[in-house]
């Protein structure tokens, strides 16, 4: 049933491969991730620092009894934070059994992107290493960097495994 509905929506907008993304801000740049990867968006909770790990791991949080590690993409991508503390959010993503949160400066909106809106990465330069980016989306004059959260999060596990 659900599948049918989403297909119908797709047909209505004349683009069957479009995706919905959550747009957020890190420093001054705008990023987006596929909404299907997002489990929830929460306000910033008390973060417990974890010693002896890489710098971009901010710590762990208690998400209703589950311990969820928190990545700091600012540190990872070498960006400054900006904006009000009150606007900061944690986006919790889940892939299979692995859960992780990222801290963002502000969650902006949820939008639909068609295939044609997304450009491949080779042409663009960013501070993020290219394999963690799915593409760059151009939406009404804005540039959104579409992150591959799966690669980013799964990548963390192999880093630690070594």
């Amino acid at each position: 049933m659900m599948e049918k509905e989403s297909q119908q929506v797709g047909v209505a907008t004349q683009d069957s491969t479009e995706i919905q993304v959550v747009v957020f801000r890190l420093g001054k740049e705008e990023y987006a991730i596929d909404i299907l990867n997002v489990q929830e968006i929460i306000r910033v909770l008390n973060v417990t620092r974890v010693p002896r790990v890489e710098k971009h791991i901010e710590g762990v949080i208690n998400l209703r009894g589950n311990i969820v590690p928190l990545l700091n993409l600012h540190t990872k991508f070498n960006l400054d934070t900006s904006g009000l503390e009150d606007e900061k959010r944690i986006i919790v993503c889940q892939f299979d059994e692995i859960k992780a949160g990222i801290i963002v400066d502000e969650v902006l909106e949820v939008i639909r992107l068609g295939d044609s809106d997304i450009e491949s990465v080779d042409n663009v330069y960013t501070s993020v290493s290219a394999d963690q980016i799915k593409g760059i989306a151009k939406v009404s004059g804005r540039l959104l960097i579409l992150l591959d959260m799966k690669k980013i999060i799964i990548g963390e596990t192999s880093d630690q495994g070594e």
């Binding site: 417990t48 002896r52 790990v53 992780a100 630690q160």
Partner: protein, 673 residues
């Protein structure tokens, strides 16, 4: 059909293992005491059930082998064959093969083994060709089969209550009957027929036992046969006439006597079929039923973990509520919180108990292992197991098997001497090996004790000096206990060292590491010529532990109490420096001193203090002082994993969710430094 069966695979495997266990235990019993008919009956029953289950599932190789075993067993039961070591050996081989097949089924989902070798052996035993020395077989091989009749018999699992009822009824002078009823295949309303039978018996009698259960009969959940045991004031003739008057059924009624208690339950095959049908009708395939006699439910361990997590959370939120109660001071609220406190404590202990399993699960495989090894080594061993019922958390049980195997093998191989040597040393030829488990406080102790040759501490010491583990000067100050601990040192004893303790220490470091990894401890007591005793101390559970909460600057950490020796308040002036390493002297011992703040890079400035708290922790055999800012107190904590991304951080064993909702990390002393 194939898909249908796969649903029952788990049940099949689980139950097969249970029956294999029974088989194993009773085979050992039978070997010790050849005249033990109850063991023989148990073996027969287990083999029979396995046969039934395997053929239901379509595993013909298992079914075929068990079928042949059954033939031999039934001949043994009827006294046509006698139990001797050759037969038992073959049965053991069959058991091994079955275990192999079941393992294969578990891993590959299929097994198509050619068991003709064993089957031939079994057939030879049956016909007497296996060993010409045995002469008692020849008479009636044919009678053993009776396959057609057996197929229709449903087994009784009489529990002790049923037996008591039956015995009482016999004593009271009532007639007890056993009835086998087959409903005609084309009967449309089986349940009604069953009901009519019940009705007719209950006119002046009472049904004690029915297989399948009355409820299932009522709902028509049975193939075509059912069996009843009932008390009745009417005579045999009268009652059988009365039942026979019901149409569409065939019935045989016989008088029930004690001997049937052991022989009635021959065939459990059809019972299994019915059970499977039952399960099929329930939508939840996970709803696994344990064998009927025990009223238990099998639950996936993951579900228990989930339950445990939820209880952990509940306890945590109760903590929050308590804090609110303390600040608001509303009497009614506080009363309610107190109640909740009690309930949640109960709940927690119940959940803990649910996760506990008897250590029997691990112990059960040892008698066979010891037997085989003893035979191989030509040693006579009296293997005694005590405290099989001791319960431990599932997680601990899973880890403890290998270390125990190692210790038992060691004891057999190197500890206990050959019979002739033992007799020469003035000891009985048969060596004694004791494996025991017992509770003590929050720990379980497992002892592996032999009365073998023991280990000479002089020899260990010489080896330790030779290996450079210690200088000969230091060696003079060691106690026997300290010396004995050397055999746990990595690579301490290898096969290349040919002495009377050679091999005694091989891999003991591995055992020690394994046991320490589950927060346990191992020690050894040994007297040359008298034997050796290994004592393993294990925590009851790994999920909930006692911990000391300490703070460093703004951060709070939990140190497992199992690694804490003591805490102490020291002065800055107590700290000495040796080779750039801070040390303190505590009751004559020199302990290295580390500051937790530095080790964990806790942010914040170093503020020199005149006095400081030291937690004395144990890392292996050494004591280390850890400087912390404050000691918060002792607390029971529920350990949570940090998840895949953060596994393997040195010094961090996991995390807890504290009463205030914050995450706190648990320090792992063994990997901290």
């Amino acid at each position: 059909m194939a898909i249908d069966m796969s649903q029952y695979m788990d049940i099949f495997l689980e139950e097969s293992k249970e029956h294999l266990n029974i088989l194993n235990e009773n085979l050992l019993e039978l070997e010790k005491n050849a005249g033990n008919t109850s063991s023989l009956n148990e073996i027969f029953r287990a083999a029979h059930t396995l046969k039934g289950m395997a053929s239901t599932m379509g595993f013909e190789d298992v079914a075929d082998l068990t079928h042949h075993m059954e033939n031999v067993l039934s001949a043994l039961k009827e006294g046509i064959l006698t139990v001797d070591s050759q037969v038992v050996d073959v049965l053991f081989q069959c058991f091994d093969r079955m275990q192999f097949m079941i393992d294969k089924l578990e891993s590959l989902g299929a097994s198509n083994l050619d068991n003709s070798d064993l089957i031939n052996m079994l057939e030879d035993i049956q016909t007497g060709n296996f060993d010409p020395n045995i002469k008692k077989y020849s008479a009636v091989v044919e009678e053993n089969h009776e396959p057609a009749e057996e197929k229709h018999v449903i087994g009784f699992d009489l529990n002790s209550f049923d037996i008591t009822v039956i015995k009482e009824a016999i004593m009271a002078g009532n007639n007890i009957f056993y009835a086998h009823i087959s409903v005609d295949k084309d009967c449309m309303m089986k349940a009604v027929r069953a009901f009519m039978v019940f009705k007719s018996i209950e006119e002046d009698g009472e049904i004690i036992k029915s297989v399948p259960h009355v409820q299932d009969l009522d709902e028509g959940k049975f193939d075509s046969d059912f069996e009843l045991i009932f008390i009745c004031t009417a005579g045999l003739e009268e009652i059988s006439q009365r039942i026979k008057s019901i149409s569409e059924i065939t019935v045989t009624v016989t008088e029930f006597d004690d001997s049937m208690l052991t022989t009635v339950d021959k065939d459990v095959t059809s019972k299994k079929v019915i059970k499977n049908l039952e399960v099929a009708e329930e939508s939840d395939a996970e709803n696994k039923h344990a064998p009927k006699a025990r009223k238990t439910v099998r639950v996936d361990i993951e579900r228990l973990d989930m339950l445990m997590n939820l209880v952990g959370e509940l306890v945590m939120h109760k903590g929050c509520l308590e804090q609110i109660g303390a600040t608001t001071k509303i009497p009614q609220l506080n009363e309610t919180i107190e109640q909740m406190d009690r309930i949640s404590a109960d709940l927690q202990s119940v959940v803990m108990i649910v996760r506990m399993v008897p250590i029997e699960q691990v112990f059960n495989r040892f008698p066979r292992m010891v037997r085989d090894l003893a035979k191989e080594l030509n040693k006579e061993i009296d293997f005694i197991m005590e405290g099989k019922e001791t319960e431990l958390d599932r997680t601990v049980i899973d880890e403890i098997g290998d270390p125990l195997v190692h210790l038992l093998r060691n004891a057999l191989d190197h500890g206990i001497e050959l019979p002739e040597n033992r007799i020469a040393a003035g000891k009985p030829g048969q060596g004694t090996l004791i494996l025991s488990a017992q509770h003590e406080g929050n720990n379980v102790y497992i002892d592996v004790q032999d009365d073998g040759r023991g280990i000479d501490s002089e020899v260990i010491l010489a080896k330790a000096i030779e290996k450079g583990l210690i200088s000969s000067n230091e060696a003079q100050q060691l106690t026997d206990n300290e010396i004995n601990r050397f055999i746990f040192a990595p690579g301490f004893s290898t096969s290349s060292q040919v002495t009377d303790i050679s091999g005694r220490g091989v891999g003991l470091d591995v055992v020690k590491t394994k046991i320490e990894s589950i927060n346990g401890d191992i020690s050894i007591e040994t007297k040359p010529g008298q034997g050796t005793k290994f004592r393993i101390k294990l925590p009851l559970t790994l999920a909930i532990i006692q911990a000391l909460m300490v703070s460093v600057k703004d951060e709070i950490y939990a140190i497992p109490l199992s690694s804490v020796n003591e805490t102490s308040l020291i002065n800055q002036s107590d700290i000495k420096v040796i080779q750039n390493q801070e040390v303190i002297i505590l009751r004559g011992d020199v302990l290295p001193l580390y500051r937790l703040k530095h080790i964990l890079n806790v942010p914040g400035e170093d503020i020199p203090q005149a006095q400081m708290y030291v937690v004395v922790v144990r890392k292996g055999d050494y004591q280390i002082g850890l400087v912390v800012d404050t000691l918060i107190g002792q607390q029971e904590i529920v350990i949570k994993s940090l998840g895949k991304i953060l596994t393997g951080i040195p010094g961090i064993a996991g995390a807890i969710v504290a009463g205030d909702g914050n995450v706190r990390l648990i320090i792992d002393i063994t990997t901290l430094f």
